[in-house]
Symmetry: C2
Subunit: 233 residues, 2 copies
Amino acid sequence: MPEKTEKPAPETGEATAAEAATTGEAATTGEDRPRRRQARGERRIAQLLEAAARVFATTGYTAASTNAIAREAGVSPGTLYQFFPNKEAIAIELGSRLMHEMRQSYDEVLTPITSDTTPLEEVIAGTVDRFIEFNCRHPAFFVLMHGPDIPGRIAEEHDALHATLVARVETILAPFAPDAPQAAVTRTAQMCVGIYKAGLELILAHEGDEREAYVQELKGALVRYLEPLMGTS
Amino acid sequence: MPEKTEKPAPETGEATAAEAATTGEAATTGEDRPRRRQARGERRIAQLLEAAARVFATTGYTAASTNAIAREAGVSPGTLYQFFPNKEAIAIELGSRLMHEMRQSYDEVLTPITSDTTPLEEVIAGTVDRFIEFNCRHPAFFVLMHGPDIPGRIAEEHDALHATLVARVETILAPFAPDAPQAAVTRTAQMCVGIYKAGLELILAHEGDEREAYVQELKGALVRYLEPLMGTS
DNA sequence: CAGAAATGCGAGCGATCTCTCGTGTTTGTC
DNA sequence: GACAAACACGAGAGATCGCTCGCATTTCTG
C-alpha cells in the first residue's frame, strides 16, 4: 500500500502541463506522450507544488533540497522526479501558476481603471491592496520573484513579469504626463515598482496593526512620489 | 617556489584581526596565540578579501565556492583556511571592513548636518550621493547586505547595520516632526531606507547618463516622500 | 481478467563543496 | 647556521544534494 497519506487536496484541479520542460522537442506529433491517468498524478503535482511553496518560502530556492520538498509532500524523491524533470522545473511551474493567478486578480483591478479617469490616488490604493493581499497569501511568490539566488530560467520569467508590470504602470502613468519623454515615464514606472517592492518587504515583516500602518505608509509614499502628475490630467 | 604570483597588493595594511571567530573563547589570557609574522599574512588576507569581494559580487554568497575564491586570489584552498576558519568568516570579515569604511564616509557627511539646520533637501542629496558612490565602488557590499541567501551570522551583522541606519535616519527626521509618535517616525525612517535600497538597485543596474537620471529620480522620490515634514521645522 | 501504462518507492550514483592533513618552504630570532 | 613558527600547497576525506534505476503497486483500457 504505497499510498500512505492520501490527503484530500481540495485544489481546483486545473489542467496545467507540468512536464516536457527540459528537452523542449516533441513538436512534430504535437504530444508524443499522451500521458494518461492524470487523476492521481494531477493531485500529486498539486501536492508537490504546495510543499515546494512552503519549502521555498522558508528556506529560499537554492537552500531548498528536492528531498526536503518530497518529504514535505509525504512522497519519495523518485515520485517527485516522475512529475518534474529537475528542481528548476518545480520552481518554474510554481512561479508560472502563481503568476497566472496573480494576473487574474491583477487584470481584474487594472482593466476597468486604465480606460476610466479615476483619480490617481484610488488607482494606487486599489492596486497596492490587491498586490499586498496576493503576496501575503503566497509568500513563496516573493521569494521566487525577488530572490537573487535563482538560476537562469526563473530569472527570465521574473524579468518577463517585471517588464509587463513596468509596462502596465507606464500605460497608467502616460495619460497623466502626456508631454514627458518616454524614458522619463519608464524611469518613473520603474521607481514605482521599486518603491512597491520595498514597501512589500516591510509589510511582510510586520503583523496586524503595524502591517496596516505600513500599507498606509506605502500608499502615501507612492501618492506623494507621483504628486507632480496629479494636476495635469 | 610556492609563491607563485606575488602581487604588489598596495593595500593600507591595517591590523584587523581576521581569525578567532568560530570558537569565541580564549578570553582568559587575552590572546593565547600572538600570531607573529604578519607581514606576508596580512597581505594574503587583503588579497583573499579582494578576491572574495569579486566572487561574491558576481555569483552571490552561497554560489561562491571557497576554492573559487582561493583560485581568484591565486592561492591554494589550504592557504585560504590558514587565515579564515570557514567560508562564513570570510564574508563576515569582508562585510565588517566594508561597514567600517562606509561608516567613515558616512559620519563624515552626517555629523555636521544633524546638529545644523540644513534644509532637508540638501541632507537627502548629500546622503544619497555618498551612499551611491560607496555602493558603486564596492558592489560586494550590496550583495552581502541585501542578499537573501546568507547564513545566520552575516544576517545579524546586516540587521545591526540596518538598525543603526534606521536609527540615524530617525534622529535626522525627529526635529522635523517633533509632535509625531515614535512609532510613526520609525516607520518613516524604515520606508526611507527601503526606498533608498530600491533606488540603489535601479542605479546599479544602469550606466552613465541613465544612472545619473535614476539618482535624480531617487532624490526626488525621497524629497517628495518627506515633503510633509518640510514646513514644520 | 489480462496487459500496459502510470504511479510509487528508496537505495545509491556521481558531482560538488567545505574543510583537513601531511608535508614542504619561507622568514624571524638567537 | 640552527631552530621554530608562520606560510603555502594540493590531494582528498566527509558530507550534501540533484537525480537515476530497478522493481513493486495501482489504475486504466479492452
